[in-house]
Symmetry: C2
Subunit: 344 residues, 2 copies
């Protein structure tokens, strides 16, 4: 009768609950896990004892015993971009609804770190989501041989056998160029994304298409952050473009900042476009013309397919790309009549 276990020596265990309820540990396990069948009477006794002792099954021990953790690991290249956060949120909420816990790690745009994190975390989770991987094909192939499900979001698609959910980068970027062409632009600079970003490849392809309808695209290296955009703006200007297209909205903000510093008006002197349509793009000055892609949905949909993989069902390794939608706002406008901004 000595319920000394109550709060005396550490947390309650299956054993202490079993003793208190006068049943075996197996019965306690069965009741708590909802597995197997236990008589109503005993079920009640166990539940009562568990409640009294404040018992909660230890997930670690459970993991060791079952070999599953009900945890999903997520690796993102950059925790500073709201775009990725929306995706994470999507995964987090969808997986939480299924009783899964999410672990997030930031590879800081470093392919090597990404690879290390991926293997590390995969060891402690049932599955892994690689968001916008920066790793090359071979590194990705290693992951593919893991026993555990791995899903990529915004990855290389056909470049790998890993299931990869993505958005229509090519279509979105092409729409942007066409919009630019429609309002008279012929010379545009494209500020390309961080090294290793597979997204960038598809967006780059759009440049060739653009030439098809008369838009000359000069590609310059930039990156994926506000700072990168700010730093690349001057170089972009030297090519005398009438519009600057950016890898993403963050870069566009950086460019916008630099342009303003130099006293250039957008879109009066030069037009500017982003990509992603993060929340803030509607509030910048001017509001950004960009391409909207379903962020949170990418996460939740991703979780759903990952869930199927966990459950051993087969999934399409290259599901249809999610649609990208052109959003025209105020940062793009007709070409100014005196449009010859030669190198400063």
């Amino acid at each position: 009768m000595t319920d000394a276990d109550a709060d005396a020596a550490g947390p309650a265990t299956v054993r202490s609950v079993a003793r208190a309820a006068g049943v075996s540990v197996a019965t306690v396990s069965r009741v708590m896990a909802g597995t197997g069948v236990v008589s109503p009477a005993r079920t009640e006794r166990v539940l009562a004892a568990a409640r009294d002792l404040g018992y909660r099954p230890d997930p670690i021990a459970r993991s060791l015993a079952t070999g599953t953790s009900r945890r999903v690991a997520v690796v993102v290249p950059n925790l500073s971009n709201p775009y990725f956060y929306d995706i994470i949120r999507g995964i987090g909420r969808a997986s939480a609804a299924d009783g899964y816990t999410m672990t997030v790690a930031d590879s800081m745009e470093d392919a090597a770190a990404e690879r290390a994190l991926a293997t590390d975390m995969l060891q402690q989770a049932d599955a892994l989501v690689l968001v916008a991987p920066r790793s090359d094909r071979t590194a990705l192939e290693v992951l593919q041989r893991s026993r555990r499900p791995v899903l990529m979001l915004l990855g290389p698609r056909s470049e790998s056998e890993l299931p990869d959910l993505s958005v229509d980068n090519l279509g979105g970027m092409t729409a942007l160029y066409r919009h630019l062409a429609d309002i008279g632009h012929r010379r545009v600079v494209y500020l390309s994304g961080p090294p290793g970003a597979w997204q960038n490849l598809r967006r780059l392809e759009a440049a060739r298409r653009a030439e098809g309808f008369g838009v000359q695209v000069t590609v310059l290296e930039a990156g994926g952050t506000i700072a990168a955009g700010h730093d690349a703006a001057d170089a972009a200007l030297e090519h005398g473009p009438t519009a600057i297209a950016c890898f993403n909205d963050l870069v566009a903000f950086g460019v916008l900042h630099r342009l303003t510093e130099r006293g250039l008006g957008v879109p009066t002197d030069i037009s500017l476009t982003g990509f992603d349509d993060i929340d803030f793009s509607a509030y910048s000055s001017p509001a950004l013309t960009t391409v909207r892609t379903p962020r949170e949905r990418l996460g939740s949909e991703g979780w759903r397919t990952l869930r199927r993989m966990i459950d051993g069902e087969s999934v399409d390794p290259a599901p249809p790309e999610l649609a990208a939608e052109l959003v025209v706002r105020d940062s793009t406008g007709p070409v100014p009549s005196d449009a010859v901004q030669a190198s400063a």
Copy 2:
């Protein structure tokens, strides 16, 4: 001699490595964990075998054996606010440097969910960070009784015994009101934050101080998101303020949007302030006058004190608040001469 374990039956274990190296499992454990002393020769043999077999100690099993997971859990109220993820990034990077893994969960502004998540995650981590808790005192006290270290960031401070690192909300908000007073404002509406946000309490206190220097502050409920700001703007206007002060930058963006919709100019018709100085606040139109607080540093500093708690050292439960700095940009200006915007 049958090294069938190589890649045949699942991952290598201490046992398979021990066999391959011709030593006992204890020796393998000692070498891998870097604990105890093992002869150089054997150490080498073990390392070689481990490499050959691609052995990596199972963190789950290790956790069960040691009772520690080298994992830190983080609960935030809202994964949509860049402010919070800057903090998360700070925690993530600092803890990763110490070999810890971070698990993040979003309570979605729900105090009950927050409490559940906190206890859940604390069970699978060595320590917990509660960012901007929405729970009340009593719920917080429960957590305090946990055997594991719990740290609050932006919490109630003196209201609880839990260590709580915060920023100088009172000082920051007061500086904002004083700036407004300096440029002639006398009637301002304060759009207060989400229910349960302790931060809000201190910011509210500043209103009383503001009255000390002639600024009349009307408090209205809003929330912590862009949408909340957008929805509260009309009500705010009905009080005929010459300036609207917002709980945070997100709310300010929402208000800004609504103001623009109604054709009101900022700051020509009305002034607007935020709080937090998230990255985007410098890029809005107009750029936001706000208060900057050290976000990532809050996270990294928080991790450092949590780390001390994990190591059993004692920490100051109420460390000095981190400084908040007034950032005057373009959303605040002198009161227009015809400043009598009576209820629409």
